[in-house]
Symmetry: none
Subunit: 404 residues, 2 copies
């Protein structure tokens, strides 16, 4: 077995073969009780398909990063994919760039951009420039590409993402990403200059970004609406390492939102496509069944409704996911969980542990539903999210024994 | 308290005195539901003595190494004894040597040997040489001792274990143990030459082992049956450190199988003897009561029947252990658990968490049985196996307070 990569932490070797694994991430699915009913979103939802799956699954809870830590989507997904999120601090800029398909290299610095509207005195009046359509957004980014030259020693690349959103990538030696946002996050004041504290690489990058944004402002000055550019989420790309090589899995990702395609790309998964609807996403998953060993499916609506503080909307989103579930189940090992909790009562991400289901022939079922109360009494106990992949591989018969 | 060793991880000091601790390891006791009944092996067994003990105990689950990791017996026992199994990778050769009482020194390399039968063209026809009796096995190992000289710079030692099994120890500077097995694991092909990948110490050891095995083949060539020698499980001895010094416990081990006496010796426990039956083992335990602070009892039949895929046999083995239990209970702190799960439905070790019982005056009893379903709702929660010793010491009144 000399050629086989050891996993994890050099502890055991992988076994050749094994079952396929499907990881269904129901974004922000964990919740808190509704004050009127005492029931969480999962407890309130009618989910016959999920219930049937849970009844024959091992249940548990996972802590995304550490107790009390509310994670963003990037680190939460890295943890689900088995990477220690504390070791791979992935910024939004990098996720945005990867999500639109830019092939980043180690050391690249990426930032998210907003096309914005400034008034005559340079103050932000609309942080989203009236949400231009995609064609208009693409036209504006083309203008930036043509009008803003790469600074000496740096390759500059602009790319449109969606509506008012774009991304900027700087490639060159000795760049840093500890650079502050220029987006003031509110209107009535001008964009801030990019600043760097700390190392000189970031200070140099802040100066370069300052020149680029000043030149971009000149290029856009004649635009009637989108006459400004705001940057945030400067981040440096450090590749976490190949998911496929690490786990011996041919991995395919299906996600409607670029951000989640980005984090899947970050670890080296293939993207099945860019589905425009949940049904299209399910079709892509079905297309991947049979030739992918690992299928990652990202479902966003639960998190969106949770962030809106819309308890009933989140319940409905869980029920909509339940209707998709039969189309996602290929009969192999199935994980259903969230990347973190987004309780509607908090209208935001939270640190609370997240319900987890592992459906396999080797489960220790309790016959209960996928809810916070059932999962905390489940067989798996409460584990760190980054151990879920080991469990999935074990259930799929893909890990060798440790020691003899 | 200057003379008192701090434990664990330098966190707290040990208290002088305290109660005795009995650790009963029911090998592979954790299981999975029988498809027909939905009950695990423990849930299916009739165990009045264990039930009575469990009803007044704290219950919990332990994860032997890490989620998803299926452990071998060596690392699983190290974890039960409070050692991080990832830090002490213990090979079979070392366990075999320790199990027959060889006093290994740091850096020694040991390998397991099989007396085997080869045909006229050097192909293995019986990997166990017809399972010779112990007297015959001892005679053959004597021939090896007399006929195979120690290579330059190395002390060579052969010792008989049982039937066709023996062990070889190499002592010298700069030896390595990353040496491949010569046992081809099947008949019809010749033994493989020992090979080393990686460091030069292992490459040197592979060359030395090659010479030894070639000479051994010459010595055995005139034997009618056992005319070959196969080696596997090359392992280097690195002492995990003294169990007694670490915990302040005079520790005695009782195990019928050499492998488990080996792992007990590895951490420095005394061996009470070599019991030939369960009843004899219980007698040795009773003999140790009163003058040992820690008694380790290993019970094998549960794992053997589990590995056979014999669900009913494993249930019967649990029931047989139940009958031994009163004879093992000295009234002090008692731990009953497994080193890992061996579900009969999987016919092998698995990664699943293992039921755990701690009987003491300071328990938080639930009145329930020692089963997977009761233990996952127990007071102890789901913990790493290597934390069990801290709990045992605490229950025995042997750990001081951390901070003031």
């Amino acid at each position: 077995m000399g050629r086989v990569t050891r996993f994890p932490d050099d502890l055991v070797e992988r076994m050749p073969g094994g079952e396929a694994i499907t990881m269904i991430v129901v974004d922000g699915v964990g919740g808190l009780p509704h004050p009127a009913t005492g029931l969480t979103e999962l407890e309130s939802a009618t989910t016959p398909n999920l219930d049937a799956m849970a009844a024959e699954s091992s249940l548990g809870m996972h802590v995304p990063v550490a107790p009390g830590i509310t994670p963003g989507s990037g680190p939460a997904h890295l943890a689900l994919f088995g990477y220690d999120p504390a070791r791979y601090l992935v910024g939004r800029g990098v996720l945005a760039a990867l999500g639109v398909g830019i092939r980043l290299r180690e050391g690249d610095v990426a930032a998210r951009l907003n096309l914005a509207t400034l008034d005559g005195r340079g103050r932000v009046t609309d942080r989203r420039a009236g949400r231009p359509g995609n064609a208009e957004g693409q036209r504006l980014v083309r203008r930036l590409r043509e009008g803003v030259m790469s600074p000496p020693g740096v390759d500059l690349h602009f790319q449109h993402v969606m509506e008012h959103r774009a991304v900027m990538v700087l490639r060159g030696d000795g760049l840093g990403a500890d650079v502050s946002d220029t987006d003031p996050q509110r209107t009535g004041i001008p964009p801030r200059p990019p600043r760097a504290e700390g190392d000189t690489a970031s200070a140099r990058t802040a100066r370069i970004a300052g020149h680029i944004l000043a030149r971009a402002a000149e290029v856009l000055a004649t635009e009637p609406v989108a006459n400004g550019l705001l940057a945030r989420g400067f981040a440096e790309y450090r590749a976490p390492g190949g998911f496929s090589r690490r786990y011996g899995l041919k991995a395919v990702a299906v996600a409607r939102y670029p951000m989640y395609r980005g984090v899947a790309r970050l670890v080296g998964m293939e993207l099945a496509g860019t589905p425009a609807s949940d049904d299209e996403a399910v079709e892509l998953m079905q297309g991947a069944a049979g030739h992918a060993d690992f299928r990652f499916f990202h479902y966003k609506a639960t998190d969106s409704r949770g962030e809106d503080g819309d308890f009933e909307g989140k319940v409905a989103a869980i029920e909509a996911l339940d209707r998709l579930l039969p189309g996602l189940d290929d009969g192999g090992v199935v994980i259903v969980t969230g990347d973190h909790s987004t309780p509607a009562t908090m209208a935001g991400h939270s640190w609370h542990a997240v319900p987890l289901l592992i459906r396999s022939r080797h489960a220790r079922p309790t016959g209960r539903r996928l809810t916070e109360s059932a999962c905390r009494q489940g067989d798996v106990g409460t584990i760190a999210a980054r151990h879920i992949m080991s469990l999935a591989l074990a259930h799929a018969g893909r890990l060798a024994k440790f020691g003899s």
